[in-house]
């Protein structure tokens, strides 16, 4: 019999940014896959209600969400049931349908996602969030308070326009007493596949500077990798497909650092 809610979830980690389009869902997906490969049981709670990206990234397009005695059954990305997911993407009849909800309605559904999903036994629950510091973020924290929040991973791209928003997210974490596990600098340089020249498409170094400025741990940089983007489009496992790549190395290092800080 599954126990509902988070009673058997060992660790909860939020993936935040403040800025849109920096790779929160990408990093959440890759962290989840890396953790599964490391033998962990993982859950992803996708609280981006307007733009849920997780279902496609793990190619679980249109399964049905069932109810059991203990609540909603999450969707499993794999037959061994090592990776459980809940997203509004699974509840929409038509994937092009817009979810045009104001704050209170979003808050209510997120409450249900936290408390009424039969997550079962998990080593880590990752929470993917939309950009900002608003209803979704407050709702998730209010509902997680009864259990625990181990901390947050913040994602930024190198440029100032991005770190400018992430600074505000850091303030949000401080104000809501969420521990910052560290900052990831995503889209950090592009290596041309034709000539190997590295271009700083979205500038350089901003994530590391932000970590220094705010006294946070710098978890590492992930490069702009068209192979990563392409595998996410197709919902394939990038880590299995390209284990020799520098992107794989970067992600593995980030996962190891996060795991050490959770076990500490």
């Amino acid at each position: 019999i599954s126990i509902n809610g988070l009673a058997q979830v060992k660790h909860v980690v939020l993936v935040l940014s403040g800025k849109g389009g920096v790779g929160k869902s990408t990093i959440t997906t890759e962290l989840a896959l890396a953790l599964v490969h490391a033998g962990k049981k993982v859950g992803i709670l996708d609280v981006d209600l307007c733009g849920p990206s997780i279902p496609r990234m793990l190619s679980v397009g249109k399964p049905e969400v069932h109810q059991c005695d203990a609540g909603w059954v999450p969707v499993y990305a794999d037959p061994q049931q090592k990776l459980a997911i809940m997203s509004i993407g699974f509840l929409l009849e038509d994937s092009d349908e817009a979810v045009i909800w104001r704050g209170p309605k979003k808050t209510a559904l997120i409450g249900q996602f936290v408390s009424d999903v039969a997550w079962g036994e998990l080593d880590i629950l990752l929470v993917d969030t939309p950009p900002g510091t608003s209803d979704e973020h407050l709702a998730v924290l209010e509902n997680l308070r009864k259990h625990r929040v181990d901390g947050a991973v913040l994602v930024t791209t190198p440029q100032a326009v991005s770190t400018g928003d992430v600074r505000r997210e850091i303030t949000f974490c401080k104000k809501t007493a969420v521990k910052i596990l560290g900052i990831v600098e995503n889209m950090s340089g592009f290596v041309c596949p034709h000539c190997s020249e590295c271009s700083n498409v979205f500038s350089k170094g901003g994530g590391e500077e932000l970590a220094k400025l705010t006294g946070s741990v710098f978890l590492g940089s992930v490069p702009l990798d068209p192979l990563l983007t392409a595998t996410l489009e197709e919902g394939r496992d990038f880590l299995q497909a390209f284990p020799e790549s520098s992107t794989y190395t970067a992600i593995s290092q980030i996962v190891n650092t996060v795991l050490s800080s959770l076990d500490a």
Binding site: G103, Q159, V161, I170, T171
Partner: protein, 321 residues
Amino acid sequence: MADVPNDAPEHCPGTSSDQAGKSSACQGCPNQNICASGAAKAPDPAIEEIRQKLTSVKHKILVLSGKGGVGKSTFSAHLSHALASDDSKEIALLDVDICGPSIPKIMGLEGEQVHQSGSGWSPVYVEDNLAVMSIGFLLSSPDDAVIWRGPKKNGMIKQFLRDVDWGEVDYLIVDTPPGTSDEHLSIVQYLSGAGIDGAVIITTPQEVSLQDVRKEIRFCKKVKIPVIGVIENMSGFVCPKCKNTSQIFPPTTGGAQRMCEELNLPLLGRVPLDPRIGRSCDEGRSFLTEVPDSPAAVAYQNIVQKIRDYSSSHSTPDDPC
């Protein structure tokens, strides 16, 4: 139309919500009886006030996406610069991204403050004919977080539309956050009296972006905003060394082109990825004046011309432009 009175409790659903006066959060609120009686659900008088205030604004254009980080603020800023390059036009740029206001930085206006006068709030002027308003100007520190629920964000947007002294304006450009939520509903509702010419939709080529953008297009249809067209941003990267093109954000499902064909919408243009765009934005300078001959700048100018053409052909009958 969710409005939160100053004396409302923390989880106030808004005076125009179906739950007004009835939700558990309403217990003890001094306005509870008024809300429960339905008296607060009359059409918001601000809509008419805003209609009157904006009669001096000829064209109102929203910049939307659905997806974050595709270049809405970048495009809004540069559209404003391009339109303002005609000295005879007055341009206004309104940033309604309350949690993540990027416009002050991109326009080189960080640290500027807003002044209040008898006729309302004065926007900040970048040029004589280019005025900007953003919550960024109301924050005292770059670390300040705006941790507001929907109803409070809506109130701010209402103030931006009703209380800012825009003056005579040819184009009001409204930059939005990603999504289809409070900010978007509020902009549409508060402008329902004044009218919106149309929306420009920004996307990047990949399906992860397009799937959110299709929802935004449905939103526009639902609230009856005409879609001027779609822009595909970050469309290919030309290596500065070997000049080969890479699709960093690959159009695995046909990109914006196929989506526009399927939805019968104009594709206004494709803008390539150029590291100099990001750099200009970080430095608060217009990319169009920094590198005017770059393929990206040329693409932008072509798109801006299409927007000008759309606006002139969609003027109201009594509008001389």
